[in-house]
């Protein structure tokens, strides 16, 4: 062995490590996300950041694309073989991160675990509840029996991440958070997790689908809006989500940055007190005396309040264009949205006329409540609505409170009118219809977030028919009919649908998702192929 060979060896090692270093940098993605992940256990807490991280580590039987349409995931195909049976054919050759093979047994195990996670703050059990019986036909075919026809099965199952029967037999939520149990079939493995601070991932090179571009991903939680923007500008992170609207103009103008946006599924709306026919607590006449009959029960008054609002001005001036004016639950094109049901044009004159017809030519006084820390610009929006209502003679006081205080009061029907939002995770209209405008019914699980207690038997009847209809086209027509009734009646008053915005350094590209999820597999180098 001479010096020569040594030198060559050294050079080779050096060269290797150098290229590896450059490669490593190029293949690392550092993301700054605005909402903290509360748990790695995919069945513990239904929360967008948790779901996003779940999508990186785990897979469901079905999934959704960027526009919230259902696509195959661990199930290659599915069909309803009779009124109450769904058959799923599973993908073959899929392995968990620890090498264990994915089979129908794992799915059955998962469905058992989902409703039984202890202390779950918001359980995923609602997605598995309709399943009465799981029948394993063979290792990769599964039949799910329901008591009544259940058309939403493939949609719902996109929320349920599949775990391994052997690995996760006695898995606890703490086990997931600590790391050892964070084993799935997804495109990334979790390397480390510091609660509320950061998660590190590395690519799952044995992933069955399109492999993500990034070898390593740093998922940092930066909850302060200004700090997150500053981290991107300083180059500490490559990519951020939840771009504050006040920074949009500046970031758009910055040559070093790129933005990606998509119309989301979160509706910001006003809810009214429908629960009282007698006086409503925050409505008075112009002298401050309670009005014996709740004016908000009168559809003409609600229509007047809707006509008073210039949604375009709110979107343009307050949301900085990061929203679209809304006339219904979902943006056009979504399943169950009504074609042509646009946001009403502002018409102060027409609004005053309607008020006069309803017996309030001089208007009345109202307090509009809302949160000040939940939705982008929430307290600014209610002030703007206050301006517009005051101008038609409904003198409005505005009260913004922290979310926890506010939502508790709204949930106890203590308020007369308030701003709140709803993210339709399923991307189809039955979800908001059941949750926001169906009559409150604890046993059916309907109207769970119907805090104004709107109740219209016609809506309930059409919705019930839709929920029994397995034929997609017929079901969509019924959902559209119910939606139309709700908004003609102004059961709730839609303001706008938020756009989801992400910002990244030049050289990165992102496939935006309507469901707000921020996932590393959706980010790729600009100019490269799609990664999904």
């Amino acid at each position: 062995m001479g010096w020569g060979i040594r030198a060559v060896q050294c050079a080779a090692v050096l060269a290797c490590s150098l290229t590896a270093g450059a490669e490593g940098r190029a293949q690392t993605l550092t993301m700054g996300v605005g909402a903290p992940v509360t748990s790695i256990d995919p069945h513990y807490h239904q929360l967008s950041p948790n779901i996003a991280v779940g999508h990186m580590i785990f897979d469901g039987l079905t999934s959704t694309d960027g526009n919230a349409r259902v696509i195959p995931d661990l199930a290659e195909s599915w069909q309803a073989i009779d009124e109450t049976t769904w058959e799923f054919r599973l993908r073959r050759g899929v392995r968990f991160h620890n090498g264990s093979e994915f089979t129908a047994e794992d799915v059955a195990f998962t469905f058992q675990r989902v409703p039984n996670v202890p202390n779950s703050p918001s359980s995923y059990g609602i997605y598995t509840r309709p399943i009465r019986q799981v029948e394993i036909v063979d290792s990769h075919t599964l039949r799910l029996k329901t008591a009544t026809p259940y058309p939403l099965m493939p949609t719902d199952l996109a929320n349920v991440m599949i775990l391994d029967r052997e690995t996760h037999a006695n898995a606890t939520t703490e086990g997931f958070n600590a790391g050892p149990m964070a084993v799935g079939t997804g495109p990334f493995r979790m390397v480390s997790h510091r609660n509320g601070d950061r998660i590190e991932f590395e690519r799952n090179d044995a992933y069955w689908g399109q492999k993500p571009h990034w070898q390593r991903v740093n998922y940092r939680m930066i909850t302060n809006d200004a700090a997150r923007t500053a981290a991107l500008l300083a180059g500490d992170v490559d990519f951020i989500d939840q771009v504050p609207t006040s920074d949009l103009a500046k970031l758009r103008a910055d040559q070093r940055l790129a933005l990606s946006e998509i119309t989301g599924l979160r509706l910001i709306y006003l809810s009214f007190d429908h629960s009282r026919t007698e006086a409503s607590p925050f409505v008075t006449d112009n002298d401050g005396r309670p009005i014996p009959q709740n004016p908000l029960k009168d559809a003409r008054v609600r229509r007047a309040l809707s006509l008073a609002i210039d949604r375009g001005a709110i979107v343009e001036r307050i949301m900085e264009g990061a929203a679209i004016p809304a006339g219904q639950f979902l943006p056009e094109g979504a399943f169950g949205s009504v074609p042509g049901l646009a946001a009403p044009r502002a018409d102060a004159e027409g609004a005053r006329k309607l008020l006069a017809e309803a017996g309030f030519p001089q208007g009345f006084r109202i307090t509009l409540h809302g949160p000040n820390d939940r939705y982008p610009n929430d307290s600014r929006i209610i002030q703007a609505v206050g301006q517009m209502w005051t101008r038609i003679g409904v003198r409005t006081q505005v009260e913004a409170q922290p979310w926890t205080t506010f939502v508790a009061r709204a949930g106890r029907q203590e308020l007369s009118s308030f701003l709140i939002g709803w993210g339709t995770s399923s991307g189809e209209a039955s979800n908001p219809l059941r949750n926001l405008t169906a009559s409150f019914d604890r046993d059916k699980g309907y109207g769970a977030s119907n805090r104004g207690r709107y109740s219209n038997p016609e809506v309930d009847r059409v919705l019930d028919a839709a929920m029994r209809e397995l034929d997609d086209a017929k079901r969509e027509a019924l959902l559209q009919q119910a939606t139309r009734i709700v908004f003609e009646d102004v059961g709730i008053l839609p303001l706008h649908i938020q756009k989801n915005t992400w910002a990244m350094r030049r050289g990165f590209a992102h496939d935006a998702r309507a469901d707000e999820l921020t996932r590393a597999q959706d980010v790729r180098p600009a100019g490269g192929g799609a990664t999904r």
């Binding site: 809006d225 103009a249 500046k250 703007a384």
Partner: protein, 306 residues
Amino acid sequence: MSSTTAGAPPAAAAARVETPFRRFVSEFAESRLALLGLVVFAIIALVAILAPWIAPQNPYDLAQLDIMDGRLEPGSVGGSGITHWLGTDDQGRDMLSGIIYGLRISLTVGAGSAILACLVGASLGMLAAYAGGRTDSLIMRLVDLQLSFPAILAALMILAFLGKGILNVVIALVVVEWAYYARTVRGTALVERRREYIEAAQCLALPTHRIIFRHLLPNCLPPLIVVGTMQIARAIALEATLSFLGLGVPITEPSLGLLIANGYEYMLSGKYWISFYPGIALLVTIVSINLVGDQLRDVLNPRLKK
């Protein structure tokens, strides 16, 4: 100035000099800076009092605001024809009007809470000094407890409990500030009550309340005035902080702190004026009060006499 007798106790000096007020005025006017502070403060107070007549817009009347006028640059003309010399905020509120009305809230809250805290604190301090013994210990331990707590934290806790609103802000400020007055008054009163004139009053068997209010209290006033002035400035700053954190006034009736909070999100976007001008107004107010307070302390403190 010529009649100043060095080393004489203030009470005695005041009793000997023919026109103590004139002497006080001339001593105060020795500092040009303090005079300037007084003039500026007088102007600010006048502007605040006359707000409804001089502000171009009533910034608390939602019907007069239009979001289409939102975030206009200083000097632009809005849809209603008003020239916004200091620009507008995100709701289309004229910043000049917002600041004028905001000063009104700040001064009311500052002065109101200082006077109330002075009443509560001075009474308790006087009681502690005069009664002594267990009452004294109890009150002074309460004072210690209060002073060991960061004021902002205590105020936050009180507001979280009471809820928002101007009255609640005043209550919170009184609760966090009374201790300063109590300590000051007790210290002075302990010295004063051993003096001959109190002993004389006691020998005459005057009723206790008469001794306290007619003899002891007036002689404790000078340090109380100094603390009071400083505490007004402190109360204004504290109110601004609470409003900035979203716990003070209602969002449709912004004080200076809330105006600053409304604007600071737009700082990165270059819309400086929403935070900047209310900030300047707050700064000028507090500095002018402090200048006056500093000079008052110098004039009223015998140990600092030349």
